[in-house]
C-alpha cells in the first residue's frame, strides 16, 4: 500500500515538545467556518516539516490541505489527537491521508464532549468557586489556589496527552503493518467519523424560520412544520447543498459570501432568525 520511497524521518521528543508549546496558542484563529483548522495545522507544523522534508511540493501541499479541513474539539483534549496524527503522518505519510482525516474527525467529537463536561463544567467550576469563596472575603489566597488547582490538571493533560497519543499511535501502527488491516481500519475510522459528523450537524448548524402563518385561525410557525417533517431538516439540506457545491468545484469563498449575504438579507426580512 505504501510505495513512496523516502528516508523515514523520525519524530523525537523535541518535536512533541514543540507541539506542546504551539498548543498554547490553540484558539487564536478560531473561525465560524472550519473552527480550529489553522490551529491544528499550526501545531502539526514542526512534525510535518520534518516528515516531508525531502518530498515534492505537491506532496507537501496535500499534507497541508489535509490539516486545513474542519476541526473542532476541546482545546485541551486536542492533545491526544495531535499525538496520534503525528504518529500516523510519520508512519503512513500521505498514503494514510484518508485514515488521518477520518481519525481526526472520529476523535474530535467524543473528546470535545469529554473535555467540555470534565474540564469546563466540572473541574473549572470546582477550582473557581473555591477561589471565589476566599476572594469574596478579600483573601488573595483564593487566586493562587484556583490558579494552581486548575492548571495542575490542565497543563499535564496537554503535555502527556500529546505523548500518550503519539506513543499509542506508533505502537498501534507497528502492530498493523499489514496494508490490508490499515485499509480496514481506515474504513472503520471513516464510518465512525461519518456518524459523528452526521450527529454534529443538528448540534452545530443552527438555522430557524420564525415566520408565523395563520391557517383557519390556527397560528403555526413554519419552523414547527419543518420540525414535523424532520428535526434539523434545514441544517441537513444546507450542509448537503454546501457538499454538492464543493464537489462541483465551486470555490468555498463564493459559498461563504453567499451564506453571509443570504443570512443578512433573509434575516432582515424576517425569514430567518
Amino acid at each position: 500500500m505504501i510505495n513512496e520511497k523516502v528516508p523515514n524521518e523520525k519524530i523525537d521528543k523535541k518535536d512533541l515538545n514543540k507541539m506542546f508549546w504551539r498548543m498554547q496558542l490553540f484558539q487564536g484563529s478560531w473561525n465560524y467556518e472550519r473552527m480550529q483548522n489553522l490551529a491544528f495545522l499550526f501545531c502539526m507544523k514542526p512534525v510535518l516539516k520534518k516528515i516531508y522534508k525531502n518530498s515534492s511540493k505537491e506532496e507537501k501541499t496535500v499534507a497541508i490541505k489535509r490539516h486545513l479541513e474542519f476541526f473542532n474539539t476541546h482545546p485541551t483534549m486536542a492533545a491526544p489527537i495531535l499525538g496520534i496524527s503525528a504518529a500516523m503522518e510519520e508512519q503512513g505519510r500521505n498514503n494514510a491521508g484518508n485514515a488521518i482525516s477520518s481519525l481526526k474527525v472520529g476523535m474530535m467529537g467524543p473528546l470535545a464532549g469529554l473535555g467540555d463536561s470534565i474540564i469546563w463544567l466540572t473541574w473549572m467550576p470546582i477550582c473557581m468557586s473555591l477561589g471565589a469563596s476566599f476572594c469574596s472575603q478579600g483573601n488573595p489566597l483564593g487566586l493562587i489556589l484556583a490558579f494552581l488547582m486548575f492548571n495542575i490538571v490542565n497543563v499535564p493533560l496537554k503535555y502527556y496527552g500529546i505523548k500518550f497519543g503519539y506513543e499509542k499511535g506508533v505502537a498501534f501502527l507497528k502492530e498493523t503493518k499489514n496494508s490490508d488491516v490499515i485499509q480496514r481500519y481506515t474504513t472503520m475510522a471513516t464510518i465512525l467519523g461519518l456518524i459523528i459528523v452526521g450527529g454534529l450537524i443538528p448540534q452545530m448548524v443552527a438555522v430557524k424560520v420564525p415566520i408565523v402563518i395563520t391557517i383557519n385561525k390556527v397560528k403555526v410557525t413554519i419552523q414547527e412544520i419543518l420540525d414535523g417533517i424532520m428535526p434539523s431538516l434545514l441544517p441537513l439540506i444546507i450542509t448537503f447543498l454546501c457538499y454538492r457545491s464543493i464537489k462541483k468545484g465551486k470555490s468555498s469563498i463564493t459559498i461563504l459570501l453567499l451564506i453571509i449575504v443570504a443570512a443578512i438579507v433573509l434575516g432582515a426580512i424576517g425569514i430567518l432568525g
Binding site: Q24, L25, F26, Q27, S29, W30, N31, Y32, E33, M35, L38, F42, S56, E59, T61, L68, F70, N98, G109, P110, G113, M124, C127, C135, S136, G138, P140, G142, L143, F150, N151, K174, K177, N178, R184, A189, T190, I191, L192, L194, I195, V197, G198, G199, L200, V205, P231, I238, T239, C242, Y243, S245, S252, I255, I259, I260, I264, V265, G267, A268
Partner: protein
Amino acid sequence: MLVKSLLVAIWAGICAMDMFGPQVSLWRPLFAGSITGLLLGDFTQGMIIAATLELMWLGVVGVGAYVPPDVVAGSILGTAFGILSGKGAVAGVAIAVPVAVVSQQLDILFRTGTIALSHKSDKAAELGDFDKMDKYHLYGIPFGALTRALPVFFAVYFGAEYVQKLFDIIPKFIMSGLGIAGGILPALGFGMLLSMMLNKNLWIFFLLGFVANAYGKIPTIGLAIIGIIVAFGYDMVMGGKGNRKVDVNSSQGGLDL
C-alpha cells in the same frame, strides 16, 4: 485616568490572549476582575466583585460552536465601574452583564473575520511551504486581544455609555445577520469535510449519525459508542466476506511500510 485606562486595557488584552491561547484561567472573571482591582488601586474590592461575577458565570464557557457572553470584557469593566463608581459589586454586576453581551457581538465579528485567514491559507497551501503557513494562524491573536482591549480602554476612559453609542453605529440587521450566518457557516465546514470523506458508499452512516442525534438526541459521546459498534460490525461482515487473513504477529520483521 489615561494611565489607568491603558493599564486595564493591556490587562484585558492579556486576558483575551489567555482565552485564545493557553487558557490557564486568567480569562475567568475571578482573575480578570481581581487584577483589574489591583490596577485601579483597590485589590480587595476588586476580588469581592470578581468573586461575585465568577459565581454568576461559572458555567459560561464556549462549548462547540457556541460563542458565550464575553466574560473577559464583562468582568473587567464590571469590576472597574464597581470600583470607580464606589458602588461595589451591585454596580459591577449591573454593568458586567450588558457589557458581556455587547462584547459577544464583537467576538462574533472577530470569529467571522478569521474565516478570511482560512481562505488565505487555502491559497498559500499550494506553495507547499510549511513555514509560510504559521503566520495565518498567528495573525488572529493580536486581533483577538484588540477585540477586548479597545472597548475596555474606551469604556474606562470615556465611560460605558460611549461604548454603547459606538456599537449603535453598526446597523442592527447587520449584526443579527452575522449572528444567523454564524449559525449556518459550520454547514460549509462540514460540507468541505464530507467532500473529503464521502468517497465510498458510506453515506448511509452519515445519515445514521444525523438521525440518531436529530430524533434520538443522542449526545456525541453516545454517538461515538454507536459509531465504534457499527464500525466493528461493518468490519466483521465485510472483512469476513473478503476472506482476509490477518496475522498481526507475522508483521515483526516487515519493512514494507
